[in-house]
């Protein structure tokens, strides 16, 4: 079996030359990975609402149909929002990609094994919902996933990126939810009240 990818390098590779890509980050390690790759006004970091990341991505994608939107989240966070994959599949946005950084564990709470750690396959679940999905385990496959972030398709896409279960150095984003909201909207030319 090929060695698992390094999560920080994988996310940095996915976000290289990001241009106008809008990024929603699931709480915990995925937020730190995205922040470590470079804070950006087009990043919306979640510090709660576990299970919401892909769905927040759907809302943005539907409100901004000409922009590409990626939700970068973890296996634990996506597992809490599994039903959301059905909702996203039916909504069929052309400009939304979901990236699941899958280390098979709940990283914030003591590295307990998650359902994917027990063998469950989120890519297959997404495929069963009708979402184009694949497992990413190599750097060349990662490059293909990166390309998907920069072009619309017939429908939503989901990539599961298998990574090592280890704690990278913390890279903590801003926690002020109102600031994150205003910053993200200002980046889109939207003003507060």
């Amino acid at each position: 079996m090929a060695p698992l990818l390094d999560r920080r390098k994988a996310v940095a590779a996915l976000l290289k030359d990001r241009d106008g890509l809008l990024v929603v980050c699931g709480l915990g390690s995925p937020s730190y990975d995205v922040h470590a790759a470079g804070d950006h006004d087009g990043n919306y970091y979640l510090w709660g609402a576990m299970g919401a990341a892909a769905l927040v991505g759907l809302g943005i994608a539907q409100a901004q149909p000409d922009r590409m939107v990626v939700a970068i989240t973890g296996d634990g966070e996506q597992l809490m929002g599994l039903g959301g994959l059905a909702t996203i599949a039916v909504a069929r946005p052309k400009n939304l990609v979901i990236i699941v950084i899958d280390n098979g564990h709940f990283g914030e709470t003591g590295m307990q094994k998650s359902h994917t750690g027990h063998g469950l396959d989120i890519a297959k679940i997404a495929q069963a919902c009708g979402i184009e999905a694949r497992l990413i385990e190599t750097e060349s496959a990662l490059a293909e996933a990166r390309a998907a972030l920069h072009g619309k398709a017939d429908g939503p896409r989901l990539f599961v990126v298998r990574v090592k279960a280890e704690n990278a150095p913390r890279s903590l984003p801003i926690r002020d939810a109102v600031h994150l909201k205003n910053r993200f909207r200002a980046n889109l030319g939207l003003r507060p009240l």
Binding site: V24, Y44, L46, G48, A49, M50, G51, A52, L55, V56, G57, L58, G59, I60, A61, Q62, A63, Q64, R67, G81, G83, G84, A86, T87, V90, A91, A177, V178, L180, K181, F184, R185, L188, L190, L193
Partner: protein, 198 residues
């Protein structure tokens, strides 16, 4: 199968939007089609997203939104998904409304931290069960818990017992949500909803 009130082909209601309480033009003894009035109020506020888990009491309003090509309608597997989608819609510059039954409110509580802590505008229209001529005992606990649970997480609740009250409440709630970044639930009394035939 739902028996709907045959007299609910209502009086003409003026289009909504803005803060003044709409004159429903209702004549004594004539019912108002509140879904049509609510739809017009929300269109007046440029609501462009709707999300729902289907509920019989909301079926007419759901269809009005779904038939509108300028509205994005999302069917949900569980109600809390709509809270997350509405947050994303606001981040992207679009206004949303969520339609659900009282039982679904119970599914939303943790997700509601998102709009509350972020001060996202949020408008939920909730049809109540378990509180008026209810056949199904399993609806009773959430019927009792809906208002306290929403208030506990930080939402303001407006209640409507009649069609006129509902139309006024939705207009006021829309102003609070979209003009003042508040998180509001309008609770639609079960007394207003046609009795479900089993």
């Amino acid at each position: 199968m739902i028996r709907t009130d045959p007299s609910a082909q209502g009086a003409e209601t003026p289009s909504g939007g803005g803060g003044a309480a709409p004159n429903t033009g209702q004549k004594p003894g004539q019912s108002v089609s509140w879904p049509a009035a609510v739809y017009r109020i929300l269109k007046g506020y440029d609501v462009r997203h709707m999300a729902f888990v289907p509920d019989a009491g909301h079926s007419e309003l759901i269809e009005l939104f779904r038939a509108d090509p300028d509205i994005v309608s999302n069917v949900l597997t569980t109600e809390e998904e709509g809270i997350a989608i509405a947050a994303g819609a606001h981040l992207g510059g679009a206004r949303s409304v969520l339609l659900m039954q009282s039982s679904g409110v119970g599914n939303c509580i943790n997700m509601l931290s998102l709009p509350v802590i972020s001060r996202f505008p949020l408008l939920m229209l909730v049809t109540m069960r378990g509180e008026w001529a209810e056949f199904n005992p399993w609806q009773v606990p959430m019927g009792l818990a809906t208002e306290p649970a929403l208030k506990a997480i930080g939402l303001r609740c407006l209640r409507a017992e009649t069609a006129d009250e509902l139309i006024d409440s939705v207009a006021a709630a829309a102003a609070l949500a979209y003009d003042a970044d508040q998180q509001i639930a309008v609770l639609i009394s079960q007394r207003m909803i046609a009795k479900k035939i089993w």
